[in-house]
Amino acid sequence: MYSSMQKYVEVPVQSTVASGTTTVDETGNLELQDGSATFTGGVVNVGDVVHDTSDDRMYTVASVVDANTLSLVAIGAAVGTGVGTGKNYIIYSGSVSNKQLLATDGVVIVENAAADPINSEVNIQYCGSSGISIKITHAAVAAGNEAVRDGFEQAVNDSLIQPWPHVNYDGWLPSSLILNIALI
């Protein structure tokens, strides 16, 4: 049991705006096409983040071509050239987020995931080797970039030096959009 003054950082987690499976091979075209989707009407917007979860590649939306097609810009350490057919994808808003609390007490170490080819994952280990681990998935960044890790580490410091009764810290502005937080 780890006991200390509990503190949390408020993490802005981007909202999911669409998900599905592609129906056309757009490899090499820097596009995503899903015949059953409706990307128009403000559903998907320029700057939203596309995660091809089948091939683990990320893109930002350059333009909404039509209801079924998005033009993309590749991002991350390993970059894709467009989304092939039959690939699962999730699209996250570039502008709308919700706050999720993440504990900053009991943190043992914060690390970029070593095996992540696109550099989009930061892992937080709590309470020693038997404690839980939480993964922050963020918009992919260049190889060697550890800005999200460094930012969270600073937020840990900043939250823990807040006096009681300040339990939550809302001062962290991540350098990359945070897409998901989940247990490992």
């Binding site: 780890y2 006991s3 003054m5 999720q100 609390l101 504990a103 404690g131 009681w164 009764p165 339990v167």
Partner: protein
């Protein structure tokens, strides 16, 4: 410092749930399923407490936010206030631990 949410549970009066060592609150049960009817508190030790509640709309994070707000409010109370009366925005019908 021990703190508990004091939660009304349908047909069970009130049940207390510790918020000591809670690291994250997630939509869904311990495996991420049933996102509209369950919300789970994950502790640093690996224990999980799942609240089963009245359904929220698909994609809603309202109940998670509600629990998060209650944890913050409870931790901001003085040390003699051990139990924090939490009135959920969606009625809780069961509490389980794994």
């Amino acid at each position: 410092m021990e703190k508990f949410l004091n939660i009304p549970v349908t047909n069970e009066q009130k049940q207390i749930v510790s918020i000591l060592d809670v690291k994250i609150v997630e939509v869904g049960d311990a495996s991420g399923s049933n996102p509209t009817t369950t919300t789970t508190l994950f502790y640093g030790s690996g224990k999980k407490v799942t609240l089963t509640h009245a359904a929220v709309s698909a994609g809603s994070e309202a109940m998670r936010d509600d629990v998060q707000d209650a944890i913050i409010a409870a931790l901001a109370t003085g040390w003699t206030a051990v139990l924090y009366d939490y009135i959920p925005s969606s009625a809780v019908s069961g509490i389980s631990i794994a």
